[in-house]
Each structure stands twice: as structure tokens, then as C-alpha cells.
């Protein structure tokens, strides 16, 4: 193996800012728990957080709670608690960690996490969302609204799809007016969407900068610093300002020729969510090879902004509908995702594709063997498929992962040497 590659710990400012913003959000939730201000549980994928924001309803993201517990190595006891209650070892561990939190008394009065006033299920491709929010609403006694977003099964959404979604928005808005005691103000929603579009522009610009070599940040492991602001805080001035800062920092790094590692030896595209319980260990397996993710699909679960879509304040509800229907990863077919990855490989000039297949999320993973076939056999892109889980530490086998990753990059290195 060549000389050791080191992480530069460059991400100080973006990481720090993101942390401050996310901490401020969780503090707001804790305050809402005390003051009784309305809250809304909502999912990350293709979400419509802007609508909640228009009523000053604090958004709760159970997925974020689950991943934070996993990163802090607190997910397993919660998962076990849910399994004791009857959930299967084959059920999504995100859901089990969330239900386990409820069963352990970790949400509700007297905790930092309020019960939602409304449980707004943005059903955007993921069928597990439907079950998850049915169970969460049942457990917490909150009102459930099932926002049914037709899956993108034609090149563009049909007129009937858009009418159906907008109709549901109107019905949702009537409920939110009642819950919040506030009249719907379209101008406020336009303003929120203006901030959203600014954040989307900054996120897209940051990703665009990863086309440069070296990429200024790792678009898989470091993208998490931006995924909070873009998915959770989208529509706030603070999130928009955050991305202005991020772009400034990344442009500065590009000018200096600086990247996240001391040396960028391999440019990879990563598909699939990360193993949160072993985030750092997993990252290290790539760092030692000088492998940097220049693009990732996981960073687009909430929305795909790098190909040009922005929320449009002049068409507020239609624009939110379009984003939920077409402009996020989860409401598109897995084969459409192949096209997205192919663009990454070609336009971001990647050497390889790494597929991290997780048991919990079949939406992401079911069929990734076919994806590997497509990229290796039809496109000739070196592709590695490894398995673990995003929430359940029991599925992470470090030695096995390391063997496979080492073998893959050894082969890739050999290929580079021969080509040179």
C-alpha cells in the first residue's frame, strides 16, 4: 500500500455552522415541548417542510432522531426494545429505533423531543413511511395526515398526479390552520420558498465544486453537514445564509487546491445511506486509500438540486408538488437512479462506484445487484457492493468490509498503474 493518506480536518467551519444550526433546531423542539407550540412529524424524503413552516409549526424528523442516536451509539437498546414489543429483526431499524425511543419514554412531556401535534406522512416512494407514521400517530395520539404522492412511473408526472397532490395540499392547509390557529398566508409561503431556493442554489453550487480535482469536500461523508440544513431547515433565512458561507469556503478551498484528504487518489461515487453506528470507522476504510466521494445518491434523498430544479415562489404549491413528485431520489425508480449515478460517474469524472447496501431500507437496496451488473458489465465502471445497515450495529462486520474494500482498491490501483 502506498504512503498513508490523512484526513485534513478541513471541514471546521461548515461542520461547526451546521452543528450550531441543528442544535438551535433541537432546542426549539425542546422549547415547543414546554410551551405547547404545535409540532409536525415529517419525513426527509421529498418533504414539504415549507408548508409546515408557513404556519410556524416546528418540524420533527424522526429519521434525524434515529440517525443521531445511531451516531451516538445509542440505537441498539432502542431497537431491542422495539423487538421485544414484537417488531421483527427484518423490519427497518430506523422505525424500530424511533418506536423504541417512544417505548423507553424518550419522547413526549418531560423530554427534549415533543410528541407531534400532527403526523404528516409524506409518502414519497417509501412504503415503510406509511407504516412508521401509522405507528407513530397511534403511539403518540397525534393526528395523522397521509399525503399520498404518486410514484414517478411515467417520464413526467401526469396532470392527474399534480391535481391530486395539490388537492391534498389544500386539505392539509385547512388542518394546519386549525392546529396552528393561523390563516394560510401565501406571501409568507413565497418568502419561505425564496429562502429554500437560495439554499438549494448553494447546495447545488457546493456539489458542482466537487467536479474539481481535488474535490473540496467528500460528497458522501461530509455531505451530512449540509443535509441537515437542506432537508430540515430548508425555507429559513439561516439555512440560506449557511449555504452562502459553505460555497465561500469551498470556493476558497478549490482556489487553494485543497481537499478533504492530504491526497485524492481515487474519485468515487457512493450509492446508499451510510452505516451511522460506525460512521467514522467506515469512512476510515476509504480514507486510507485516498478515496474521496465526489458525488452520492444519499445526499439527494430530500431533493435533487444539482441538475437545476429550484422551488419557485411564483408557483408555490405547484412547485412543492413538482419537487415531491419528481425532484427527489426516493420517488423515482431504482433504474432511474442508474441514470443519476451514470451522470455522476461521467460528469464528476469518477473512477469507481461504491454501493453500500443496507438491510433496513429496501427502497434503496432491493435490486442493487442489478445496479452492479449494469455498471460493471454494461458500462465497465469498477463497482464494489458491500453490505451493512444504517442504524443497526449488529450488521456491521468491520473485518469483512475492510477485506472487500482493500481488495477493491488494490485492484483499482493496479489498474491505474498498468494504464499509466
Amino acid at each position: 500500500m502506498p504512503a498513508e493518506v490523512k484526513e485534513r480536518q478541513y471541514q471546521g467551519k461548515v461542520h461547526q455552522l451546521s452543528r450550531e444550526l441543528m442544535n438551535a433546531w433541537t432546542s426549539q423542539l425542546a422549547r415547543a415541548n414546554e410551551t405547547g407550540e404545535p409540532t409536525g412529524a415529517i419525513m426527509i424524503s421529498g418533504n414539504c417542510v415549507e408548508i409546515l413552516r408557513a404556519f410556524d409549526i416546528h418540524p420533527i424528523f424522526p429519521e434525524v432522531t434515529a440517525l443521531q442516536n445511531a451516531i451516538r451509539h445509542q440505537s441498539l437498546p432502542l431497537i431491542l426494545k422495539a423487538e421485544q414489543a414484537g417488531y421483527s429483526s427484518d423490519n427497518c431499524a430506523y422505525v424500530k429505533a424511533d418506536i423504541g425511543l417512544f417505548l423507553s419514554g424518550g419522547m413526549g412531556p418531560g423530554t427534549k423531543m415533543p410528541y407531534p401535534t400532527i403526523t404528516l406522512c409524506n409518502y414519497v416512494g417509501c412504503n415503510v413511511y406509511v407504516k412508521w407514521f401509522e405507528h407513530l400517530a397511534e403511539a403518540t395520539g397525534s393526528q395523522l395526515f397521509m399525503l399520498d404522492i404518486p410514484f414517478l412511473r411515467t417520464p413526467e408526472p401526469t396532470a392527474a398526479d399534480i391535481r391530486y397532490v395539490v388537492k391534498q395540499f389544500e386539505e392539509l392547509i385547512r388542518i394546519l390552520e386549525r392546529i396552528s390557529g393561523k390563516k394560510f398566508d401565501i406571501d409568507k409561503l413565497r418568502e419561505i420558498l425564496g429562502y429554500a431556493a437560495r439554499a438549494e442554489e448553494g447546495y447545488a453550487r457546493s456539489k458542482e465544486l466537487c467536479k474539481r480535482s481535488p474535490a473540496p469536500f467528500d460528497c458522501y461523508f461530509d455531505a451530512i453537514n449540509m443535509m441537515g440544513p437542506i432537508n430540515v431547515l430548508r425555507g429559513t433565512r439561516e439555512a440560506a445564509d449557511f449555504f452562502d458561507e459553505a460555497v465561500k469556503e469551498f470556493e476558497g478551498m478549490v482556489a487553494e487546491g485543497a481537499g478533504p484528504l492530504s491526497e485524492e487518489r481515487f474519485r468515487m461515487v457512493v450509492e446508499g445511506p451510510p452505516p451511522y453506528p460506525y460512521y467514522r470507522s467506515f469512512r476510515n476504510l476509504f480514507t486510507r486509500w485516498g478515496a474521496v466521494a465526489v458525488a452520492s445518491t444519499y445526499s439527494t434523498v430530500g431533493g435533487i438540486w444539482e441538475f437545476g430544479f429550484r422551488h419557485d415562489p411564483t408557483r408555490p404549491l405547484e412547485s412543492i408538488a413538482e419537487q415531491m413528485l419528481t425532484e427527489n431520489l426516493t420517488n423515482r425508480s431504482i433504474v432511474t437512479r442508474y441514470g443519476q449515478i451514470r451522470r455522476y460517474v461521467e460528469e464528476w469524472r469518477a473512477d469507481a462506484l461504491v454501493i453500500h447496501s443496507i438491510k433496513s431500507c429496501r427502497l434503496f437496496s432491493a435490486g442493487q445487484g442489478d445496479m452492479r451488473e449494469y455498471f460493471t458489465k454494461e458500462l465497465g465502471v469498477p463497482t464494489l457492493l458491500v453490505e451493512s445497515d444504517l442504524e443497526d450495529p449488529r450488521y456491521y462486520a468491520e473485518a469483512q468490509l475492510r477485506n472487500r474494500i482493500d481488495a477493491f482498491f488494490e485492484a483499482l490501483e493496479h489498474k491505474k498503474l498498468v494504464a499509466a
Binding site: V130, P150, F151, R153, K167, E171
Partner: protein, 384 residues
């Protein structure tokens, strides 16, 4: 045809590959097209209205060795998805022209597009069935979605699906579903005369046969079954719940009964008997069918029920069929069934209805452990 002969014929039919059935039908229907539907509900009426043969796409069971699909789908993915894909790789769907999938779960969703990519000669459509059953927009949406699917068939195969032809197909399937409801009612009344394996064979065979022919056979069965011999045995009456997609091996159903159960209700092949009453035949059959999907639907783990508790439909089923207990039979890795197991079990416990969990896989072939579990469960109830 006598009941036993009909059931034997059903057994033979379901052992045949889908492609063989499709090819045989085409010999007597030159130029005809065949479309197969993956569980749970699929628009058989629309397919039939276009002069096509609707079939059930129900996986490969224990008969198909996985040689390709295992490389496409991981170990933690359900068997029916893998074996269904394998049918394509092994050419066992030759003769089938169209495939319909719907949004029952994340795996079925991915399977649909993977089929399309690997086998472009099939016309593959993905039906997004509504999950918001209370929106004022749901009926219009569902009607339009069914129109879209119909237009897809028309453009792929050059068939015509008219409102008139759908009306006639709805009438035919209404008649079939009425017979199935009668068969289920008969089994509740006299389970000793119609075993669950037999009822399953009848149901499964009608997903692999000409519906006009099926209707004739169902009428014969309903006429002859009451006269069948059958002495009541000392068994408990159970509802089985969870096998609405992946097909249980016949051996599993046999074991449940041999171990001391009369299965008096189930959710087997639920999609083929979805409507609780007849779909209205009116001026807009797309809308009637779509509206019925929402408000005449049997409870299902693949459909959001509004604020009804998940256990409500199951408890009603238990009461209606005078069952003593529920045996949950979720297939391994089936998220909809495994998730619903928890609230359903909790609901049963609130009502003091005993229950047992028995996971299965379509390729399962030894049942001794299951037999032991069920026998113990039955004994605990009989001698309680």
C-alpha cells in the same frame, strides 16, 4: 365435474409454468395477449376488457431454482420477488406479454423497474394505487390512473379498452367475486367439507385460467359442495393473516390443518377478491372501479386505512367467522406483514383473542417445527 376432480384439475393447473398457460390460451385465441399481475390488487377487469387474458404473477414457489435472481436481489429480500424475476431469466414467462406491478412495498416497486430493464420485450406498467382514501381528489385520481394503464395496453398491444367492454368485464368479475364470497361463507359454515388447501387451489387456479371458464367451475363447485361428505373434527377455528403476497407452500397449509385447525378465514390471494360488494356498473366504469378500490376494499396491509386501527378489520374477521384464534403467517422479510403484526397482535390481546406467529418462505419444504408449534398452540386452547 365432481368437486374432487375439479380440485385435482386446479392442482395440475397451478403446477404449470405461467408461460405454458399463456401459450395454450393463445392457441385458442389467435393474436390474443396475456398480462400477468403481481400481488396484491391489480386491474384484471381492464386487461380482460381489452380481450386479453389476466393472470396472476405469483412467483416460482419451490419449483424454480434461483440461478440469476440471487445476484440481483440481496439475501434480505423476500423470496417471491427473487423467484418472480427468475421466471423471466429462465424464460418461464414466454407467452406472457404484459406485467403489472403496484405500490404494495418497496421491493415490488424496485422489481417492476428491474423487470423492465432486463426484459424490455414485456410491456411493464406500475400502478400507483392511492394511499389517501379520504381526500376529495382520490376518486378522480384513481379513475385517471386506471385510464392511463388502459391506454398503455392499447398502445402496446393495439387492443381497445372501451367503457362498454370494461362494464362487461366488471360484471364478469363481480360474478366471480360473488362466488368466492359464497365459497368463503360455505367454509365458515362447514369447514370440514372444504379444506383450506382445497380452497386455496381453487383460488389460485382462477388466477391462471380463463375467467369465463372459472365462473362455470365455481358454479359447479357451489352446487356440489353442500352434498360432500365431511365429519366435523375436534379442531380449533383460526384465521390466518399475512400471506397476501408471497404464496405459502401447500405443505404449510396442510400442516396447519393437520395440527388441529380449521382455517375459517384468510387473506390468501386477497387481490383477486378485493371488493366487499359488487363494483357498480355505470357510465364511468374507470371511476366506479377506482372508487371501489378505495371504499369497497377489504382491509389490507398494503393500503392505508385512514384512522382505523390496523387490528379492526382482523378482529371483525375473527368475529364474523366465529374463529377462536389467529395464526399470523408473514413471509420472511415481508415488511408490510411484519409491521402490521405488532398493532394487530396488540389489538387481539386487548380483545383476549389468542394468536400465534408462524413465518414462512415460498421455498420452505420442511414443516415439522411448524407442526410442533401449531399442535402445542392448539392443545393449549383445546385443554384450556
Amino acid at each position: 365435474m365432481a368437486v374432487d376432480q375439479t380440485i385435482d384439475r386446479c392442482r395440475e393447473l397451478i403446477a404449470e409454468p405461467l408461460g405454458v398457460i399463456a401459450e395454450r390460451w393463445k392457441e385458442s385465441h389467435p393474436g390474443g395477449r396475456v398480462a400477468a399481475c403481481f400481488p396484491v390488487w391489480s386491474p384484471a377487469e381492464l386487461i380482460h376488457a381489452g380481450g386479453m387474458l389476466p393472470l396472476g404473477l405469483l412467483g416460482g414457489g419451490a419449483t424454480v431454482e434461483l440461478t440469476h435472481a440471487d445476484a440481483r436481489f440481496q439475501s434480505f429480500v423476500c423470496s417471491i420477488s427473487k423467484s418472480t424475476l427468475e421466471l423471466g431469466f429462465q424464460g418461464l414467462l414466454k407467452g406472457v406479454d404484459g406485467l403489472v406491478f403496484s405500490n404494495i412495498c418497496d421491493v415490488a416497486r424496485n422489481l417492476s423497474s428491474i423487470y423492465k430493464r432486463n426484459f424490455p420485450h414485456f410491456h411493464v406498467d406500475y400502478l400507483h394505487l392511492p394511499q389517501n382514501s379520504t381526500s376529495a381528489g382520490v376518486a378522480d385520481y384513481t379513475a385517471e390512473e386506471l385510464r392511463r394503464v388502459a391506454r398503455g395496453f392499447e398502445s402496446a398491444f393495439g387492443v381497445k379498452i372501451t367503457e362498454d367492454s370494461i362494464g362487461k368485464s366488471v360484471e364478469l368479475y363481480n360474478a366471480i367475486r360473488a362466488r368466492l364470497r359464497a365459497l368463503y361463507a360455505f367454509r365458515i359454515a362447514e369447514p370440514q367439507k372444504l379444506s383450506t388447501v382445497e380452497l386455496y387451489l381453487i383460488l389460485r387456479a382462477l388466477t391462471q385460467a380463463d375467467p369465463e371458464e372459472s365462473l362455470i367451475r365455481l358454479d359447479e363447485l357451489l352446487a356440489e359442495l353442500p352434498g360432500r361428505e365431511g365429519r366435523p373434527k375436534d379442531r380449533i377455528r383460526v384465521v390466518i393473516e399475512g400471506a397476501f403476497c408471497e404464496q405459502p407452500p401447500l405443505g404449510l397449509l396442510e400442516v396447519l390443518e393437520e395440527a388441529g385447525c380449521y382455517v375459517v378465514e384468510d387473506d390468501l390471494l386477497l387481490g383477486w377478491r378485493w371488493f366487499t360488494s359488487d363494483v357498480p356498473v355505470n357510465a364511468d366504469p374507470f371511476r366506479a372501479l377506482g372508487q371501489s378500490y378505495v371504499d369497497r376494499a377489504v382491509p389490507s396491509s398494503t393500503r392505508h386505512e385512514g384512522r382505523e386501527h390496523r387490528s379492526k378489520g382482523l378482529i371483525e374477521k375473527v368475529r364474523r367467522s366465529r374463529a377462536d384464534a389467529v395464526i399470523f403467517t408473514p413471509p420472511k422479510f415481508c415488511e408490510p406483514a411484519l409491521f402490521d403484526y405488532v398493532p394487530m397482535k396488540q389489538g387481539l390481546e386487548r380483545e383476549a383473542i389468542p394468536h400465534l406467529l408462524v413465518e414462512f418462505e415460498e421455498k420452505m419444504w420442511t414443516f415439522e417445527r411448524t407442526r410442533n408449534e401449531v399442535e402445542t398452540f392448539v392443545e393449549s386452547m383445546l385443554f384450556d
